[in-house]
């Protein structure tokens, strides 16, 4: 209970600092030489927190398609959450498969692991349009590649990395004495995998899955921005940012939406952790 209250307290503190700086700070921000060290405090640059909040209940625009902002953000958030979920599932699957491969064959680990680490230095925002172009080439039968699938691919690209690293460490984690015990029972590699290595890897897998969920959301939003995917929160962030000069408070609404999506994703993995608590008995809390 105390933790929840203090957590909320922290958010309140943040709001107080925001408003205090806005009230006391110079309009052009604190400038040292040429460099703006602290932000500008105009309503354009730093809208009041209550303006941000109230804007949620206003309309998105004045045209025929205008909705309450909160509804628009909510729908876009749900859409993004769905795409992230697909990306997460694909990334987790790929990550686990790679980890199993690397655990089985030391040569595979030596060959593949450096490339897995390298893969994360690739700027996805540049790759996203490429993926869409590739996807549009794929057509078989009734299946056509939709734009959201390109986004999910990018999300899975970010998600598979922590899972492959964490799962590998987890699969390698059982004590030598346990591995030798299974060997003395004449149990083959596959059954050892399911009976020993996978259960032993749960404490390592869960933080990796949580990181993968956050990454999947981030990857989804980045790709949505890059591809301009309709219906996603990423595109909404860009659209509203472009209208910032007229409507600065609205810019913040989809940002909060994106944060909410990330928190829901992390919460889901935490739930998963509760379900798997039997395999976490030896864990020392961080």
């Amino acid at each position: 209970m105390r933790k929840v209250l203090l957590g909320i307290g922290g958010l309140v503190l943040l709001v107080v600092v925001w408003e205090l700086y806005k009230a006391l700070g110079p309009a052009t921000g604190v400038v040292v030489g040429d460099l703006t060290v602290l932000p500008r405090t105009t309503d354009l640059a730093m809208p009041h927190v209550w303006d941000m909040a109230s804007r949620f209940f206003g309309e998105t625009g004045s045209g025929r398609n205008a909705q309450p902002v909160w509804l628009a953000v909510f729908e876009a958030s749900v859409f993004t959450l769905g795409v992230s979920a697909v990306g997460w599932l694909v990334g987790v699957t790929v990550g686990l498969l790679l980890a199993v491969l690397m655990q089985r064959f030391r040569t595979a680990e030596s060959a593949v692991l450096p490339w897995i680490i390298l893969s994360q230095t690739v700027p996805l925002i540049a790759i996203a349009p490429l993926v869409r172009r590739w996807g549009s080439q794929i057509e078989f039968g009734d299946f056509t590649w939709e734009n959201w699938m390109s986004v999910a691919v990018i999300a899975s690209y970010l998600a598979f990395f922590p899972v492959s690293i964490g799962a590998l460490r987890g699969l390698n984690s059982p004590d030598t004495i346990h591995v030798e015990l299974f060997r003395s029972y004449g149990v083959g590699w596959w059954r050892t995998l399911f009976r020993l290595r996978l259960p032993a890897s749960v404490p390592y897998l869960l933080p990796a899955l949580r990181l993968a969920a956050a990454n999947a959301v981030i990857g989804t939003v980045v790709a949505e921005v890059s591809i301009g995917l309709r219906g996603g929160i990423g595109r909404m962030i860009i659209e509203y940012a472009q209208q910032a000069s007229g409507d600065p408070a609205k810019t913040w609404a989809p940002i909060f939406g994106a944060i909410a999506v990330g928190l829901v994703a992390a919460g889901f993995v935490a739930l998963l952790g509760v379900l798997l608590h039997r395999f976490r008995r030896g864990e020392v809390p961080a």
Partner: protein, 257 residues
């Protein structure tokens, strides 16, 4: 298990895999006559990279420079804040919600608002984006490390009637060093990526992100890919340097009794 054969394998295997992949890539391009706008072949990218090495380097310096500033600022703040959070539970609990939110916010989302807050003419917004991206993993990993004091060391400090500050200085922080470096290593390539992504949202000319977009909009795809290659190299350099520093600083940290 290790020894000559092992080290050979560790070096040779990934290199062979990489070369093999490049070979297959080039063959596929040629065999299926794939147009550059879908994906250029490695040879084409390589030649563009070589021809434009000057501009690639310039862009790398801008993006890399922003990433470095972000890494330093975010890293220092992350470590300091983690020390405070480890010493004072209140700070930790107050900041928990804010940290959790920051950890899931796609930095891209903050880039536009940061440009309005700090002005689109300077590199500050990009450096801040990188700093925020760095702060989170460094803070989380450092905090975990600060909480990992081994019971025997904890008892030892208690027996010496050491003050909280003495304990932090002599045992907790040095003991957390491996974790701090893990965080910095994770953050290093994040810093580069974030600095690059921030360039997509505005700001002054300069930086690999800007180069990628201008090459792509000019339909010069091999050149765009060459800039992407430049970005990958910058990220790799950051990662390898932090890895080297980590290995050196933690060389005596094998688990002892």
């Amino acid at each position: 298990m290790r020894g000559q054969a092992g080290t050979l394998r560790t070096v040779l295997a990934p290199v062979l895999l990489g070369l093999g992949a490049l070979l297959i890539w080039q063959l596929v391009i040629v065999a299926f006559e794939i147009k550059p706008f879908i994906v250029p072949g490695p040879l084409a990218i390589g030649s563009e990279f070589g021809e434009n090495i000057g501009t690639v380097l310039q862009g790398a310096l801008v993006t890399g420079g922003n990433a470095l500033v972000g890494l330093v600022i975010g890293g220092v703040l992350g470590i300091l804040f983690a020390i405070v959070a480890a010493l004072a539970r209140v700070v930790d609990e107050l900041s928990a919600a804010v940290i959790a939110a920051l950890a899931v916010v796609p930095i891209v989302a903050l880039a536009p608002v940061l440009y309005t807050m700090f002005g689109a003419g300077a590199e500050t917004a990009r450096q801040l984006v990188a700093a925020i991206a760095v702060f989170i993993p460094v803070f989380i990993n450092t905090l975990r490390g600060l909480r990992q004091v081994r019971p025997v060391h904890r008892d030892l400090m208690h027996v010496y009637a050491a003050s909280a500050w003495q304990t932090t200085r002599t045992v907790t922080v040095p003991g957390a060093l491996p974790f701090i470096f893990t965080g910095l290593r994770i953050a290093s390539s994040l810093a580069v990526i974030s600095a690059l992504i921030a360039e997509y949202f505005g700001g002054p000319i300069g930086g690999l992100g800007k180069s990628i977009t201008s090459a792509a909009s000019g339909s010069n795809y091999p050149l765009a890919w060459a800039y992407v290659l430049g970005a990958i190299i910058v990220g790799l350099v950051f990662y390898c340097v932090t890895l080297a520093i980590e290995s050196f600083a933690t060389r005596h940290y094998k688990p002892s009794t």
